[in-house]
Amino acid sequence: MASMTEPHQQLDFESILGDYPVRLQNFEGPLDLLLHLIKKHELDIYDIPIALVTRQYLEYLDLMIELNLDLAGEFLVMAATLIHIKSRTLLPRPDPTQDDPEEDPREALVRRLLEHQRFKAAAELLHEKEIQRSAQWGRPDERLVDLAGEAPEPEVEVDLFSLMTAFRQVLDRARQRPRVLLPPEQMPIEVRIEQLLARLSETDACGFEELFSDVQTRAGMIVTFLAVLEMIRMKRVRVFQQGGLGPIRVYRREQPAEAPFASSASISPDLKVQGSDAFEARSTKSEA
C-alpha cells in the first residue's frame, strides 16, 4: 500500500504552524484531514456533527480520487469508520448487540483525534526546543584531530538495529570475498615467498600489513607470516620500524649472488602453529 508520508516529507515544519494548506496531498493521514475539517468549520470536537463531517470528508476523498492522488488505504478505512458511526448515530434506538447503549459512537474517534492533536502540538514544542538548541554552537568536530592528537576511531551507538546491520555486513563481505585461488593449506611457503617478492620493491616501502592484504584465511596469514620470517632469514628482505609503535616497512633486498632460494636450510620441520586446526606449517623440503 502506498504511503502518504513520502511526498509530505519535503515540507517544512512551519507549513503546519500557520493555516493548514488546502492542497489535499498535504494531509498525511485521515486524522490530519479530519482535524482540518473540524478547525475549518469551527466545530466542537466534543460534539462533532458527524453527518456534516462525513459528507465533507467524502467530498475530499472524491476530489482526491478525481485528481488521481495516491490515496492511502487509511483514508478509505476512515471513510468506512465515519459511515459506520453516522449510521449508529442516525438510528437512535436500543441496540440489542451493544453492550453499553449509552456510549456515544463518536467517543473513540474523538479520543483518537485529541491524542493525534496532542502529538502534533508536542511535535511543535519539540521543534521549538530544536530551534533553541541549534542556536548553541559546540566546539567544531573538525578540531577533534588536533585535540586528540590523532583521529579517534569512529564509534557508533549500538542497538539491535545496528547489531543486525553489522552482522549482515559481515555476512555480505564474507560472501563477496573471493576464494583464494590456491587453497592456502596447500600453498607451499616458497610459492608465497615468490608472490610476495614480486610485490616488493627495493626502493618503495611496503607496509607489513599490506603483505596480508590478499589473504583472507587464518591459514593464509600463517603462510604469509612464515614466508616473511623465511625471507628475513634468507636476507631477501629488509624490515624497518620507526620507534616501538611505528608502522613496519618492508623492502626487497638485492638478490645476493650466492644465496639460492630453496636453500637446504629450510624451515624447521617441527615448526607448528599453536591453536591452528586448519594448518600445519610444512617443511619446504617435503614439498620439493
Binding site: 504511503s3 515544519f13 498525511e28 491524542e115 496532542r118 548553541q136 539491535l160
Partner: protein, 196 residues
C-alpha cells in the same frame, strides 16, 4: 592538581557531552561528589558575561556558544549541516519520545498512518533506536529515542520533554483533565491512557 581546570579541558575536548560518571572514571580516584562540586564551580565561572556557556544536555556537560550570539556565529558558516526533519518525521518522533517504548503498529494507531517508513528514516538519522521486543505474539520491535535525540533537542533527559500543560495554548481546544494529567514517574508526562 586543579580539578576544575582538568574538567573544563575534558568537557571542551569531549566529542559528546561528558557525564559525571565518565569524568569519574577518567579522574579516578576523585569522587563523584568532588567532581560535581568542581562542575558547579565551573558553572558559576561561566555565568560571567562572555561568549560561552556550560550546558547540561543528554545527561552530560558541554561548552557551547551563548544562544543570543547565534546570528553572529552563523555568519561563520554558509549553512547548517544538520538536516531538517519533515513534519511527519517530527510528529512520529514526538510519539516515540512520549510513548516509548512503543511498537510500529502502536505508532501507526496514534498517527493514523503507516509508520514503518518514517521510523526507518528516524533510525537512519540516529534519533530513534530499537530498544527491545514486545513480549506479545509476533514480538514486534520496541522503539525509543537515542542520546542523539536528546542532544539535538537540547534535552538533558526524557523528563525534560515539554510538559503537556505547556501545550494547551497550542491546541485548538482544551484537553479533558483526565488525559492532560501528568502520569506517574514511570510514564512520560504525556502518557494518556493506553491506545487499546
Amino acid at each position: 592538581m586543579d580539578l576544575k581546570a582538568i574538567i573544563e579541558a575534558l568537557i571542551f575536548a569531549s566529542p559528546d557531552p561528558i557525564t559525571v560518571k565518565a569524568l569519574a572514571k577518567l579522574l579516578d580516584p576523585e569522587t563523584k561528589e568532588d567532581i560535581q562540586a568542581a562542575i558547579d564551580a565551573l558553572k558559576t565561572d561561566y555565568d560571567r558575561p562572555g561568549g560561552l556557556q556550560l550546558v547540561e544536555v543528554a545527561g552530560g556537560y558541554q561548552i557551547v556558544t551563548r544562544p543570543e550570539l547565534h546570528e553572529w556565529v552563523r555568519r561563520l558558516f554558509h549553512e547548517r549541516t544538520t538536516q531538517k526533519l519533515s513534519v511527519a518525521a517530527l510528529e512520529t518522533l514526538a510519539v516515540v519520545a512520549y510513548k516509548q517504548p512503543i511498537t510500529a503498529p502502536e505508532i501507526a494507531e496514534i498517527r493514523g498512518v503507516n509508520a514503518a517508513g518514517v521510523v526507518s528514516t528516524l533510525i537512519e538519522r540516529k534519533l530513534v533506536k530499537i530498544v527491545g521486543r514486545k513480549q506479545v505474539v509476533g514480538r514486534p520491535f520496541l522503539y525509543g529515542t537515542t542520546r542523539e535525540f536528546l542532544e539535538r533537542f537540547g534535552l538533558n533527559d526524557l523528563s525534560d520533554l515539554p510538559k503537556v500543560e505547556d501545550m494547551s495554548e497550542l491546541l485548538g481546544f482544551d484537553l479533558p483533565t483526565s488525559v492532560s494529567e501528568p502520569a506517574p514517574q514511570t510514564e512520560l508526562p504525556f502518557g494518556s491512557g493506553e491506545v487499546h
